[in-house]
Symmetry: C2
């Protein structure tokens, strides 16, 4: 089978054996925002046409490809939901070359009734999380997700605009003058930002404090961006803990970013482990096993 | 005398009688960022030359004009500080046309040792606050200031990057797609944002919630920017209260913005009043009275 994790800015394709072994994988800068209307079938062919020609007859897709801006809109599946739920809610997409299934994303509401959504992360979570027991899954990113899982089902989750806030604040406020957002990671600055996040005063106050530290020459330019990153990630972790997420935390994501989150969790004294790569491939394969 | 409140983007000039009555006032879009090196004397002449020709011999300036990017750098005066302290720390600036005094800004450190600075707001606070008793002063803005004052002295203060965060987040994140940051104020959206800020979960989570509300058609485009404004101001007020600021609050600033902050304080049940206009003029005059 072929599994496709098709997001806003990127497409990842996996060819898998019947037992789930990943036989091949590809990444293309063909996120849904780069695809013109009606262009999804040809984009899929361009990335996976040779695998189909070699005999693959079944494709499963997850991610923003199922959003309003994607190929077809797959309505969100409300939590709690697991692999069986995703498989049951999959949409069969007209595609002459193979059987093409599109998975929904998940939705829930926080205790105050405000909605939450994800597309793609659910497949990674269900690929990486254990089938039994409680675990909190954290997927760091532009829109970081923290999900409570029990016995292989997502009970609920919360999203934090951390990555996007970093990009906007580091480039479009007075902080831009004192930092290079693309500077190498600075462990000392990151740790200072994490420590600051654990103090009172609120994020908006801490953002100005970064500016004032620089004015007083108590913040070097090379550590400022990492300080801001640590500050924002620290506020995210603090809010998630205040929201009641329980350890252990299972981190899923790109290696560098999950390592930074691991450092942040260590600073808070929270036990954690990091999932192996290809959680998405495993999730796609596990859902495919359950398709009707 | 002539009082000048010279900020980053704007210059306000006041001509005052010996008893402090404002005889005339002007505003020019000649903030320090618009002045070329060496251009400060001529800019001041352009705005106040006729008043000087008519016999004014004394000028007092406050604001970013005393920063490293201004006319001359006036080192920050540490808190606690009052009118006498500002007058004593004034710098005499070489200017052939009149006696020209430049006031310092104030600095302090929060309980964790992180520095805080202001330039110009101290003069407004000392112009508007009572000479006796305790009061918390709030000056809303790009960098909102909350100061504790006792018997006419600023004991300490905290800054929140609220206005700048609004500008950056509303224009440079996914939120930009769902709002018009220049839309008219929407009282209902603002109130919803304030209420959300009082719930747990943290600002970064609340920012994504705004996006999700729009996806579920539970947030209209015309209320989204006011919701974001209410959310950020609400987080600022909540953090200030958590930081221990005590009512009553004295609001100082532009009429529309102080009205929004008054609404926010009402939502939190915090008593407040709003200072009259020309706090800066009054502060400049009161310091001038005390110059050596």
């Amino acid at each position: 089978m072929i599994g496709i994790d098709w997001g806003t800015s990127r497409l990842r394709a996996y060819r898998m054996a019947p037992d789930g072994t990943v036989l091949g994988q590809r990444e293309a800068q063909r996120g849904i925002l780069t695809v013109l209307p009606g262009g999804f079938p040809d984009t899929l062919r361009a990335v996976t046409g040779d695998w189909i020609a070699e005999g693959e007859t079944s494709i499963v897709m997850s991610g923003m490809v199922g959003s309003r801006q994607g190929w077809l809109e797959a309505p969100y599946l409300p939590c709690p939901a697991g692999l069986d739920g995703l498989a049951g809610a999959a949409i069969l997409v007209p595609f002459p070359d193979a059987a093409l299934s599109l998975l929904p994303g998940l939705s829930c509401r926080d205790r105050h009734g405000v909605p939450e959504v994800m597309r793609g992360e659910e497949t990674q979570m269900l690929g990486a999380a254990p089938d039994r027991g409680e675990v909190t899954v954290c997927l760091p990113g532009s829109h970081s997700k923290w999900a409570q899982m029990l016995d292989g089902r997502v009970l609920g989750f919360a999203t934090y605009l951390t990555g996007e806030a970093f990009a906007a604040l580091s480039a479009h406020t007075i902080l831009a003058r004192m930092m290079d957002a693309s500077a190498p990671h600075h462990a000392g600055g990151f740790a200072r930002g994490l420590a600051r996040a654990r103090q009172g005063g609120g994020l908006l106050h801490h953002l100005f404090g970064l500016r004032a530290l620089a004015l007083f020459e108590e913040m070097q330019e090379e550590e400022a961006a990492s300080y801001l990153s640590g500050l924002l990630i620290g506020h995210e972790v603090a809010a998630a803990l205040e929201d009641g997420v329980a350890p252990p935390i299972l981190l899923i994501g790109a290696e560098t970013l999950t390592r930074h989150y691991a450092t942040a969790l260590d600073a808070f004294g929270i036990p954690h482990r990091t999932a192996g790569p290809d959680a998405a491939a495993r999730g796609l394969w596990r859902v495919a096993e359950r398709l009707p």
